[in-house]
């Protein structure tokens, strides 16, 4: 038989690494880009530029 032990021991470790890698998705949420996108949409919906010019 081949070294059957190693992979079965490794599986929980692998699972752990996989799950922690999934968490990094959240870390990589592009917060700055999201703010920029939000500002752009809000300025359009509330027409903030136009209001400023009116003042």
């Amino acid at each position: 038989m081949m070294n059957n032990n190693l992979p079965s021991n490794m599986l929980p470790v692998m699972m752990g690494l996989f799950l922690s890698a999934c968490v990094t998705i959240n870390i990589y949420f592009p917060a700055a880009a999201a703010e920029k996108a939000a500002d752009k949409i809000i300025e359009e919906v509330w027409q903030l530029d136009r209001e400023k010019k009116d003042e």
């Binding site: 038989m1 599986l11 890698a21 998705i25 592009p30 939000a38 949409i41 809000i42």
Partner: protein, 140 residues
């Protein structure tokens, strides 16, 4: 036996998969027909809603929505109309957050996008408008 080895390889490949999420950093995609439609609908509604932001009848919630804050600031006859406006606005806002997440191929970002908008609506609100912060109402 040998297949065990391949299953480990598969796990390692899966581990790397989430890292590809890093690639798209610079800008969020917001120029889709669905988002443009929602934006237009909200912009049209804003001309009606703005008076209620100013009077304090309607306020901005922390989770990126709007709500009837002070019904007494609205004449009884108009109250139903304002409730309808608020409900329609919230429907559009929820759809907006969902569509932005979907347009960027990360549906799971919806709640973070909502939270980001929650902050930005408040930040950009005009003086006198009401917003929720830590469970309490505050005025800009």
């Amino acid at each position: 036996m040998v297949s065990r080895f391949y299953s480990v390889l598969l796990f390692m490949a899966l581990m790397l998969a989430p890292l590809t999420g890093q690639a798209q950093e610079a800008n969020l995609e917001i120029n889709t027909p669905a988002i443009a439609n929602i934006k237009q609908s909200m912009q049209n509604r804003h001309t009606q809603l703005v008076q209620y932001y100013t009077s304090g009848a309607v306020g901005l919630t922390q989770d990126g929505m709007v709500t009837m804050r002070d019904a007494n600031a609205v004449p009884l006859a108009q109250r139903q109309a304002v409730n309808t406006l608020v409900a329609a606005e919230n429907q559009d806002r929820a759809a907006l957050y969902r569509e932005i997440a979907r347009a960027n191929n990360h549906p799971e970002w919806e709640s973070k996008i909502r939270a980001t908008f929650g902050q930005r609506w408040t930040n950009l609100a005009r003086p006198g408008w009401w917003y929720q912060a830590g469970g309490a109402w505050k005025q800009k």
